[in-house]
Structures are given as C-alpha cells and as structure tokens.
C-alpha cells in the first residue's frame, strides 16, 4: 500500500508550523500507524532531514502517550482505538492522511506532533486521590463494594489520560477526563470522605486550564476506552452538591 502523509511540522513551542507532505510506500496492511511514521522517519534520517517527533511508548493502547489528529479525528477513524492500535488496513491504498497534533491552549505544542499535557496532572494534583497514607489502610475485605459499583468505578478508572477528549472537543474542554477521574473515586465507599472537596477542587482546577462543556458528546467517541459522557452528568450533579455540602462543612474542607 502507498500513502501520502501530510504531517504538521513545528520546530519548537514558539516556532511557526506547517504541513509537510511525505510519501510512505510499500506499507503493509498489518503495520500500525506509528510504524508507518517509524518508516517515514527512517527515510527522513537517510535523507538528512530531522525525523518527525511524535509521542509514543507502550504501543498497546494503555499508556496514553500517543495521540494525534488523523484526518480530523482524534486517534483516527476507529472507535475505542488509540493511535498506536490503529492499523493501516483501516485505510485505502493511495489515501492521503493528514496528521496534526492535539490543539488546545492547555496543550501547547512542544515539537511537531508532541504536546505538553501536564495540565491533566495539575487536575489530579488538586484532588484526584484518596488520602490514605501507606500503612494506614484497613483490611481489604472490611468494606464490601457491590459488584455493580465496583464495575462502574472501573469503567471510569479505565481512562488512559491521553487527552483525546480535549483534542476532540470543539471547546477544548477536559470534562470527560476530569469526570472519569472524579467519579472513579466518588463511586467507591473509600472515596466518600473527600468526595465533595475533591469534586470542587478538581472542577475548579480544570476550569483554570480548559474550556467548558457544551455537551457535544464528541469526546466519548474519541475516547480510546469508550468512557461515557454519563460520567460528566454525574460530575455536574456532584459539583452542585459539593457547593452546598462544602458550605455546610464550613472551614473544614480544604477546597472551600
């Protein structure tokens, strides 16, 4: 198979970028999209051009490192599939494939297709945890958790933090990420004591960096884990409640 790749090249955070066109020929249908970039890069190096910088690591769709816009869709056309799991048999021979980095104010481009997603870490830092020091945990089976609750928490916890939801969102909002992280913990009995402080702190931190949700629902289709926007609704509810509850708690909560 032969492809024409239009790839965004940008030398650094402040540099001007543009699309460059590269040919990828003799591609096998069994190759992953990133392997095609590998091959293009090998060619570029042979020719003396700097290779395309792109983020990747596990190449199994779990680490969340990879992620680019492929033909205008975050992680490309396949549902529930990260860029590294996208294989070339998805495309037709001769296709032109446009590759662009995630774009958002909170995701400044570092180089070519690599963006800085550290704002997501700031959200976690604000409250995406259960405060339990090592050693102070109770016996694991002390608190039974209904299977449905545990499964729902796992549905949210599957988030790989790739940022596709932000990239896909017409508003550049991080609601799907934040709601998944919040609701994973808010659903579990262990997460109850910090539930309201967590919700308020994480939502507020999110809003410092990202746009607001207007319920396009684009994120859940871009999500390589298929996380549902139902979690966003749940987060909205908890946020409203947190405003009431944290007020009642007065000065006791760190987020009030």
């Amino acid at each position: 198979m032969d492809f024409t790749l239009k790839v965004w090249r940008q030398a650094g955070p402040k540099a001007r970028g543009s699309f460059e066109t590269y040919k990828a020929s003799g591609v096998s249908a069994d190759m992953s999209f990133l392997e095609v970039l590998d091959v293009v890069n090998e060619d570029l190096i042979e020719k003396g051009t700097e290779p395309i910088a792109f983020e990747h690591d596990c190449r199994e769709g779990i680490c969340g490192s990879c992620g680019v816009m492929i033909n205008g869709q975050a992680h490309g056309p396949n549902e529930r599939t990260a860029t590294c799991q996208l294989h070339m048999r998805t495309f037709k021979d001769g296709d032109t494939i446009t590759v662009e980095p995630w774009r958002a104010a909170a995701f400044p481009i570092l180089r070519d297709l690599v963006v800085n997603r550290s704002a997501l870490d700031r959200i976690i830092e604000a409250g995406g945890f259960i405060s339990v020091n090592t050693g102070s945990a109770v016996e694991a089976n002390m608190i039974p958790i209904p299977k449905v609750v545990s499964d729902a928490a796992m549905d949210a916890a599957e988030c790989i933090g790739c940022g596709a939801c932000v990239a896909a969102c017409p508003n550049g909002a991080a609601q799907l990420f934040t709601s998944a992280k919040i609701q994973h913990l808010n659903l579990l009995p262990q997460g109850q004591s910090e539930r309201w402080q967590r919700t308020e702190a994480m939502v507020d931190k999110m809003e410092e960096y990202f746009g607001g949700c207007t319920n396009h629902g684009e994120c859940q289709f871009a999500c390589p884990k298929g996380i549902s926007i139902d979690f966003i609704a749940y987060m909205n509810r908890d946020y409203l409640k947190s405003k009431v509850t944290n007020r009642k708690l007065g000065g006791q909560g760190f987020a009030t």
């Binding site: 909170a106 809003e207 207007t214 319920n215 946020y239």
Partner: protein, 250 residues
C-alpha cells in the same frame, strides 16, 4: 517545604487561562462563578424558557378558534386574578421572571463562548471530521443570537406595535394578521423558528446532562424527547403565519 512554582520546565510551559477568583462570591452566587455552574444556570433558564415557549405556542394556536377566542385569551392574561390582583398581574409577573432568565441565559452563553474560544486559540489547521458533535450542537452560538434578534423584532412588532403596519392595542388577532400579511416577516418568522427548533433540538437534550440528571437508562428517551419537543414547537409556531399567508386564516 513548598517550592516556588513552577516546579519544572514542563509545568512552566502551560499557562492557565484564568485563575480561580481570589474571593468567592457568597453562596449560591459562587455557583455561577464556575463554567459548570453557568451550564447549570443555562439549563435551568432553558427549562424556564421552554415552559414559556410551550405556553406561548399553545396560546397562539387559539387563533384557529377565531378572533374572539384569541382576543379573549389575550385579555384574560391581563385580567387574571381580578378583582383581587391588579390589572396585568400575571403578565408582569411572568415578564419579571423571563427577563432575568433571558439575561442569565445569554450572559452564561456569551461567557462560555468566550472562554471556549480562549481554550483553543489556534484552530485545527486541517479539516475536522466530527462524529457526535452534530450541526445543532455546533451552531448553538448562531441559532441563539438569531432567535434573540428575532425576539427584538417580535416584541416591536406584536407587543409594542412600532414595527407593525396597523397595530391595535388589545386586538391580537388583527395585529397578527396585519403582520403576517407581509411575506418577508413570514420568512423571517419561519427562519427564526427553525433556528429555535435547532437550538431546542440540542438544548432540550443537553439540559439533562448539565443538570446532572442523566444516566445510561434515559439516554435514548431524552433524545426522543428533545426531537419531539423541537418538532412540536416549530410546527406549532410556524403553522400560524403560513396559515395566514396562504389564507386559511383571514
């Protein structure tokens, strides 16, 4: 031992769009300081608006029962509660609710629109291919202002009468006929109602999400609800001027 921020070059590379307000407004105003809170306000004001346009439409449909019925209904709105309540009690009461509702809805929308533009200052340079974000959801910031502009004309036309060719205070039936005899007005009216329909098609679905009452079980139902609601509203409103224009109502 908190060190001065930022703690790494990676962290320093990302600047917040806005800082959380130093001083929070007193509860419940503080809710409105956040984007999630504003969406909640938009949903609540949207529900109020939906209730209003439903009642308004039902009133409109009285036109099919003739001039007397419609004018009596309009008069009834002013005299409801008489003799205990003052004249226009209900009408002004509703207006007192609707005006701030509208202002809040518009302000929240404007604020979110501005914030969301700032959240992606550099647009995608290649063509986007949307899967879920439909035409309705992406044109909310267009359909909203269109409806708003039309609303201004609508008030001038049929409430204050300044834009009406032959306005008679209290004779709603006559005023409508006078206005809708002009085909450009009918076109504008139909266009604005279609915009309203598109706005509602997304809004009536979206509000469940913003209010946080959504869950997997009602996902299909609320899509059906929003569609039916939008179709009913547009159908109900648009039928009147068309009926007037083609002479079904004279």
């Amino acid at each position: 031992m908190v060190e001065a921020r930022p703690r790494s070059t990676v962290e320093a590379g990302v600047q917040p769009l806005r800082r959380r307000p130093e001083k929070q407004l007193p509860y419940p105003l503080s809710i409105y300081q956040s984007a999630v809170g504003k969406k909640w306000v938009m949903a609540v004001t949207g529900v109020v608006g939906m209730a209003f346009i439903t009642m308004h439409m039902l009133g409109n449909l009285k036109i099919y029962l003739g001039a007397e019925e419609l004018n009596a209904y309009a008069d009834g709105l002013r005299t409801v509660g008489a003799p205990f309540a003052p004249h226009g009690f209900l009408l002004w009461g509703v207006r007192l609710v609707l005006l701030p509702t509208l202002l809040l809805h518009v302000h929240a929308a404007w604020w979110l629109w501005r914030q969301n533009r700032r959240a992606r200052p550099v647009k995608y340079q290649s063509k986007r291919d949307y899967i879920a974000a439909d035409w309705a959801s992406r044109t909310m910031t267009w359909t909203g202002p269109i409806v708003l502009l039309f609303l201004a004309f609508h008030l001038l036309d049929l409430t204050w009468g300044t834009a009406n060719p032959d306005f008679r205070h209290g004779d709603v039936y006559h005023n409508m006929l006078a206005s809708f005899d002009r085909w450009p007005v009918v076109v504008a009216y139909v266009a604005a109602n279609l915009a309203l329909g598109v706005h509602l098609y997304h809004g009536a679905w979206s509000l469940f999400q913003s209010l946080g009452v959504n869950n997997a079980r009602i996902n299909t139902a609320r899509r059906v609800f929003a569609t039916l609601f939008a179709v009913a509203i547009v159908g109900g409103y648009v039928s009147t001027p068309i009926a007037i224009l083609i002479g079904v109502i004279e």
